[in-house]
């Protein structure tokens, strides 16, 4: 048993005893969820700024991509999209395991997510080359690289986050709140992969239209 406030200051009427309330919750009830959503909003805005720059400089080019620059190649980026799509059900499943406090389940989920994130990072390397231009070639190259690279920082950060979380779940001690952390991490995952779908369409598909 842990110590609790037992003394009542005066004022019986309207006083509230909260000792029976739970200490771990999921989703928008929890503080950390709001923290995660806050970072998603800030990072989402960063990606939007990169996209705005890409669209803005387009006005300065008669052809897009500029002459002598081949279209971005699709292979790596498409594999990436498919892999991301495959990862989402895994994360949905991990999130459910977290909400059941299923330790074996979240361990498996976080190991898988570490592996997925690592694969995303490796594929990202190929995607950058698949742009077929350099950041210092012209404004097209700069802005296309900016988008893909800015999103890469999310992938890298997620790789370390998943890895650290998996380590924690194995090495422990595991607390109930860690299940909520896993759940938040799944939410972030949907944001990260969803954002890439939009950016993929912008960078790899829209120049073909």
């Amino acid at each position: 048993m842990s110590a609790r406030e037992s003394v009542r200051v005066a004022g019986e009427a309207g006083s509230i005893d909260v000792s029976a309330l739970p200490s771990t919750t999921f989703g928008h009830r929890a503080l950390t969820w709001w923290g995660t959503v806050g970072f998603m909003a800030a990072e989402g805005t960063t990606l939007i700024v990169c996209a705005v720059a890409y669209l803005y400089v387009q006005r300065n080019f008669q052809v897009w991509p500029p002459r002598e620059t081949p279209l971005p190649s699709l292979t790596a980026a498409t594999v990436q999209i498919l892999l991301m799509a495959a990862s989402v059900p895994v994360m949905v499943w991990t999130s459910r395991a977290a909400r059941r406090f299923d330790l074996a389940g979240v361990r498996r989920g976080m190991v898988l997510s570490t592996v997925f994130a690592l694969a995303f990072c490796v594929l990202r390397w190929f995607e950058l080359h698949a742009l077929n231009t350099r950041w210092d070639s012209n404004a097209y190259g700069s802005t296309a690289w900016a988008i893909v690279f800015a999103h890469a920082t999310l992938l890298i950060a997620q790789f370390f986050e998943s890895g650290a979380m998996a380590a924690l779940l194995f090495l422990g001690p595991v607390e109930p709140k860690h299940f909520a952390d896993v759940d938040d991490s799944c939410l972030y995952w949907y944001f990260m992969t969803g954002a890439w779908l939009v950016l993929y369409l912008l960078v790899f598909i829209s120049p073909r239209l």
Binding site: V18, L21, L31, G38, T45, W135, V174
Partner: protein, 647 residues
């Protein structure tokens, strides 16, 4: 309304309440940062960090003020030889950058980080360690800027660093890189503060403080936080683009390779205009709070006030192009942004009328905080009027880049930001330190500040109309600008004296000011005045239960409280977003050194990034260690742990 003000629970003799003393001691053991320098460096207490944040920001205000004084000394007479063009460029850039990025915005977030948990009846911010990290990142950013300045690498391309002047072709050396990286530091700190405030305000309000009972200051902190969240990434990315153009040869702003100098301006001002409201909106919260206290009346039209704040928050994002009227923006666009700029006067006007209506029927007490509020009315309205003038394109084209703009921006920022801030300093100083500031010195402080601001900046309108450009280090005698410039400099000296009086006032009060007690104003309405001054580490022995918009005015003699939170661990009460019904208990982490170390690693990385892009790789690795250590919690006896195998 206005039931008699009740004494705060802390002031009731302990003997009268068996067990209360023990409760305080126990909470103090758990919430205290620990002794000495170690405890200070590890602190995650929002009050301790908030105080440091405010003081740091105020030191930057003083430094920015010294730069302003040097600028004014140089301009006091024509062809003055005090300061050469190169230093002058650095001085006005340092002044603008310091005031905007290191003073005005941080001081507003800092005041909110200190006040919000107390005002909503909670024990700390949502993410205490993140708060410490944010503060240290900000501090390092400021130290970095000033170290560079003293090494003669101070930025010199103006506070908005327009390309191509700031680009690789013209901005030689590392000066602009220093500027760009300072921005990164401060924007990260700002975004962190915003996330703290949103989570705290949404989830930690005392039971009963539904959204429609939230104090107006908390509303303004909330709107500010949302604006930061969606505005600051723009300038953060913009300045990174600039840094990359300079370091690794990208072409974001290089017209020759399809980039665009105007892209810089769009991205900058999409942040820059909202920034003005990020400074102004919390100031409006100060004004509402202080008016309620010193007139002893509820603010007239609470729903209208809240809607105006929210509307200002939205409209603030639709005005940025009015900073670019002198570029080749399509005419249709110019008309649109003129109209939008005029429209934002509406919600501000609504608030002014609500305040006037509040003051009208009351018998205001003219204490120093209230005087500064009256100063805000006068000065801000003049700034607003010149704002309406320059919202019109033909007029703006005449005065663009002249001292008319300098006059306008200072009337707005000093009137809309610094006057309310001084009011807030006088108002909350007793809460933070437990001691009163002297009213006599306060009145001198106010009078000289008010006179000084008008004497310093009013003549600049005229100088601008006479054609004196801004950002010039001197002017010829034949221009006839000498007299008005001398007047402006005398005004600046007056401001300087006034600020010195403020510092003397603070020093004297800290040494032997009158003791404040929990609620020295006797008519305050918000919860921070229900606890002792200064507040204990745990803020409230029992969290309050709120029953109205002005909780201290409607409080029964024996106020209802929350019981049942753990006393052997740091625990927060989390309530529901709309109605603030108790929802769950949240274990919040203990003090730790890791945020400071993570901030240091971040700082080293950002600074090294000025010299090589590889710093991102090395620095990334450097930052990860402290971050993992920071997040790796060590449960204590009594904390629930999931045993192996149990699922």
């Amino acid at each position: 309304m206005t039931a008699p003000i009740t004494a705060d629970p802390e002031s009731v003799p302990a003997a009268a309440r068996p067990g209360v003393r023990e409760l305080h001691d126990q909470l103090e053991r758990v919430w205290n940062d620990g002794p000495g320098l170690r405890g200070w460096l590890m602190s995650t207490d929002h009050k301790s960090l908030g105080k440091r944040y405010v003081i740091t920001a105020f030191v930057f205000f003083l430094l920015g003020g010294v730069e302003a004084a040097m600028i004014r000394a140089q301009l006091a007479r024509p062809e003055n030889g005090l300061i050469g063009p190169d230093l002058y460029n650095q001085l006005f850039t340092m002044h603008g950058t310091t005031m905007m990025f290191l003073f005005a915005v941080p001081v507003m977030t800092a005041m909110s980080l200190y006040l919000v948990p107390l005002m909503i009846g909670s024990r700390d911010l949502a993410f205490p360690r993140l708060n410490a990290y944010g503060y240290y990142v900000y501090l390092l950013g400021g130290l970095f800027l000033y170290t560079s300045f003293f090494l003669n690498v101070g930025p010199d391309a103006g506070w908005f660093a327009y390309t191509p002047l700031s680009g690789p072709a013209y901005g030689v050396g590392k000066r602009v890189d220093v500027w760009a990286q300072t921005i990164t530091f401060t924007e990260i700190a700002g975004i962190i503060a915003a996330i703290e405030l949103i989570a705290t305000i949404f989830k930690q309000r005392a039971p009963g403080m539904s959204l429609n009972r939230m104090p107006l200051f908390v509303w303004s902190a909330l709107v500010m936080a949302f604006m930061i969240l969606f505005a600051m990434p723009w300038v953060a990315v913009d300045s990174q683009f600039l840094a990359m153009d300079r370091l690794i040869g990208t072409h974001f702003f290089n017209q020759a390779e399809g980039g665009d100098a105007l892209l810089w301006q769009h991205l900058f001002w999409f942040f820059g205009h909202p920034e003005v409201y990020i400074i102004f909106i919390p100031a409006l919260g100060f004004v509402s709070t202080i008016i309620a206290t010193f007139t002893r009346r509820e603010i007239f039209g609470y729903p209208a006030m809240v809607l105006s704040l929210v509307a200002t928050g939205f409209l603030g994002f639709g005005l940025w192009v009015h900073h670019m009227f002198a570029t080749n923006i399509p005419q249709m666009g110019e008309s649109f942004f003129t109209a939008a700029s005029a429209m934002i006067a509406i919600p501000t006007g609504v608030q002014f009328f609500c305040w006037i209506a509040t003051i009208w029927g009351g018998r205001p007490r003219f204490a120093t905080p209230f005087l500064f509020i009256l100063g805000f009315f006068a000065v801000f309205i003049i700034g607003g009027l010149s704002g309406v003038m320059i919202a019109s394109v033909p007029f703006d084209l005449q005065v663009h880049d002249t001292f008319f703009i300098v006059a306008h921006l200072h009337y707005v920022l000093l009137g809309g930001g610094v006057f309310p801030l001084f009011a807030a300093f006088y108002y909350w100083f007793p809460k933070v330190t437990g001691r009163m500031l002297s009213e006599r010195l306060g009145k001198w402080n106010f009078a000289l500040f008010f006179i000084g601001v008008n004497v310093a900046f009013f003549p600049m309108h005229l100088l601008g109309l006479h054609g004196m450009p801004r950002r010039v280090y001197t002017y010829l005698a034949g221009t006839g600008w000498g007299d008005l410039n001398l007047v402006a400099t005398i005004g600046a000296v007056t401001i300087f004296v006034s600020v010195v009086i403020f510092l003397v006032n603070v020093a004297r009060s800290l040494a032997n000011g009158e003791l404040a007690g929990a609620d020295p104003w006797g008519s305050s309405s918000t919860l921070e005045w229900a606890t002792s001054s200064p507040p204990p580490s745990y803020n409230f022995a029992h969290l309050p239960v709120v029953e109205g918009r002005y909780p201290l005015w409607s409080r029964p003699i024996e106020p209802p409280v929350v019981t049942g939170l753990r006393t052997d661990e740091r625990e927060l009460l989390i309530t529901t977003l709309l109605d603030a019904r108790p929802d769950h208990r949240h274990r919040t982490p203990d003090p730790t050194i890791w945020p400071l170390l993570a901030a240091l690693a971040t700082g080293v990385t950002f600074i090294a990034l000025i010299f090589t892009p590889w710093a991102a790789v090395v620095g990334g690795v450097l930052v990860i260690g402290p971050l993992v250590a920071w997040g790796w919690s060590k449960p204590k006896p009594g904390d629930p742990v999931i045993p192996e195998g149990v699922t």
